[in-house]
């Protein structure tokens, strides 16, 4: 019962956010100063054609009617038609969704693989040289522009060593993994440091709690305390950090996809901005926001599995 109520509460919390998102996305095209269609067509069409496009898009009707229409269609999965590619936005977006999701998944796995051992070492040797070294490395990773480190990885492992392909995605799952390795590594080089620092501090918080004192009193080694008692409890905040940073992760994915020429949502967004394809831009920003909201919902629900106390809150 509590579980159901918690899930419902989380879902209900997401509704006003989603409504706000649809309002913003809907307004995008209406906020373009001047005449969006003329700007998009670079003034190469006459008045009658402009009026025809407006009629096709339904933009000659009152704003509120247009919004409700947009909402109705969005709920049914119809995000309009791309003006440049002459295809349904939903189909275009779905086609590019998988590469982006795979990139996000792989980057998350890489980041965790980098962060967990390093955070453990940093907490174990707190305020001694391994900790300082890891901290310095984190700062370095955080300060590197992702497109820059992407180019360097490409130069080093792609062009000089030839270990990894430098652009595209490939077709078989293994090929895709091969193509996605460098982009995912690029993202995890800036996500990893953020994870390391938050995990380190949550591990140190856990270290001061009473049950750790008990473990110490039992005579367990410090290393065993860290791996057996601290790590498990310190993993909970990692979910939060990952969820909070999903928006950074997606921002990073946009640039990294562009650098590595991956056919994902990010490179589609950059391209559609170049063409000023407003329906496609609307659809893409909507999908990005939906991704963020869904990830946050999943994070909220996974707390429930990790820590039952949230149900009573």
């Amino acid at each position: 019962m509590l579980v159901l109520r918690y899930c419902l509460a989380r879902l209900i919390h997401a509704i006003p956010v989603m409504l706000g998102v649809t309002v913003f996305v809907f307004l995008t095209i209406h906020l373009v100063p001047g005449d969006p269609i003329r700007i998009m067509m670079h003034g190469r069409i006459d008045d009658a054609q402009v009026a025809e496009i407006y009629r096709q898009l339904g933009m000659d009707r009152p704003l509120i009617v247009q919004y409700l229409d947009f909402l109705r269609h969005a709920v049914m999965g119809d995000l309009g038609t791309s003006l440049i590619q002459k295809a349904p936005v939903t189909a275009l977006v779905l086609e590019k969704l998988w590469p982006t999701l795979m990139l996000l998944g792989l980057s998350t796995i890489f980041s965790i693989l980098i962060a967990v051992p390093l955070a453990l070492v940093a907490a174990f040797y707190r305020n001694r040289w391994p900790d300082h070294l890891i901290r310095l490395g984190s700062i370095f990773g955080f300060a590197m522009p992702s497109y820059w480190i992407g180019l360097l990885l490409m130069l080093c492992f792609g062009l000089w060593l030839g270990w990894f392909p430098i652009s595209g995605l490939g077709s078989t799952p293994l090929e895709k993994l091969h193509h996605l390795t460098m982009p995912a590594l690029t993202i995890s080089l800036f996500l990893g440091p953020i994870l390391i620092q938050s995990m380190r501090s949550s591990m140190l918080d856990v270290l001061t709690s009473e049950y750790i004192e008990v473990a110490r009193a039992k005579g367990l080694s410090e290393w065993r305390i860290l791996t057996k008692h601290v790590l498990r409890n310190a993993l909970i905040p990692v979910i939060t950090v990952l969820a909070v940073n999903i928006s950074w992760l997606l921002s990073g994915a946009v640039i990294v996809e562009y650098v590595f020429g991956l056919p994902g949502l990010g490179s589609l967004l950059v391209r559609s901005v170049g063409y000023r394809d407003y329906p496609l831009i609307q659809g893409l920003s909507f999908v990005f926001a939906v991704l963020v909201v869904i990830v946050n919902l999943i994070a909220d629900l996974s707390y429930m599995l990790v820590d039952r106390r949230v149900l009573k809150a």
Binding site: F24, R135, I139, F142, M144, Y147, I194, S247, W248, I255
Partner: protein, 291 residues
């Protein structure tokens, strides 16, 4: 009266030295690095060996060496001079995009945290919606609406970047609001603006100051990233991100065109992150740095 009152000049210098001596190593190193970068930006016309815009077709794609310390690009421009001038552009952008939104973000957040009610509820919903979009995606969408360019980047960041500061200041204000000194100010009948801005604000601003160091780095990365995507600062301006973008096509023949401006971003980022680290220790706001 103490002696120092008669020598305000000397005491200020001594106080400054004492202050710096009390800084943590990371704050010292970070500030020194940052001071060096700011000096390089200020004195760029005197330090730079070449004109950053001068094209020399006899010296195209020269590797780093003498007289071109960082080599030359595909138009024969001296990269070292361009990186120096680039510091002027990127630092100004970083300061403006960080501290302008911080100012009204903190004010809005502190006000909302203190008064609560409908204003607070509406503000928080707006922030929730803004945060539902990946930051870069929203900026790109706004740039798609307004068109690319520096001015529109400023506008789009001003529209969005205050949200994080408003959240931080509001959360702190919710705590401060219940403390005795605020109650005392209320009992004394001080006007609301005075309680919020004279009494509350100094106590809620630390987390934002600490966060601003990370934010500064992120904003430089963001704006140079937008330039890299072709949506930000347009060539031939020597902005670091757009220089990396120009070097992208020459990675194979001339690695230095993209690599060395990127190093400038990294060094600036490290300096700021170290300052943030030191400030966090000093102000006790560990959890508000990103790394």
């Amino acid at each position: 009266m103490s002696e120092t009152a008669y020598h305000p000049q000397a005491s200020l210098t001594i106080r400054l030295f004492r202050e710096i001596a009390s800084w943590s190593p990371s704050l010292k190193i970070g500030s020194a690095l940052m001071a060096l970068i700011v000096l390089a930006a200020l004195f760029a016309p005197w330090i730079a060996p070449f004109d950053p815009y001068e094209q020399d077709f006899n010296a195209i794609l020269m590797p780093p060496g003498f007289p071109h310390l960082f080599g030359t690009d595909s138009l024969g421009r001296d990269i070292f001079s361009r990186v120096l001038y680039g510091a002027r552009i990127d630092l100004v952008i970083g300061v403006v995009t960080t501290y302008v939104p911080m100012t009204y973000g903190v004010v809005l957040g502190a006000y909302a945290g203190y008064v609560g009610g409908r204003f607070d509820a509406i503000l928080m919903r707006i922030i929730d919606v803004a945060m539902a979009f990946p930051f870069l995606v929203l900026i790109i969408v706004i740039l798609a609406i307004l068109g690319p360019g520096v001015q529109n980047i400023y506008i789009s960041i001003f529209i969005l970047a205050w949200t994080m500061y408003a959240r931080l200041a509001r959360a702190e204000m919710l705590v401060e609001r219940t403390k005795d000194y605020i109650t005392a100010a209320e009992v004394l009948g001080f006007p609301r603006w005075r309680i919020i801005f004279r009494h509350g604000l100094p106590n809620v601003i630390n987390s934002s100051i600490v966060f601003s160091a990370s934010d500064f780095v992120l904003n430089i990365l963001l704006v140079s990233g937008l330039s890299f995507l072709g949506l930000g600062i347009q060539p031939p301006l020597p902005e670091w991100g757009s220089m990396i973008a120009e070097g992208r096509d020459f990675m194979r023949q001339a690695w230095w065109i993209a690599t060395l401006p990127g190093l400038a971003i990294v060094v600036t980022g490290i300096a700021l992150a170290l300052i943030g680290d030191g400030l966090a220790q000093r102000l006790g706001e560990r959890h508000h740095t990103m790394v």
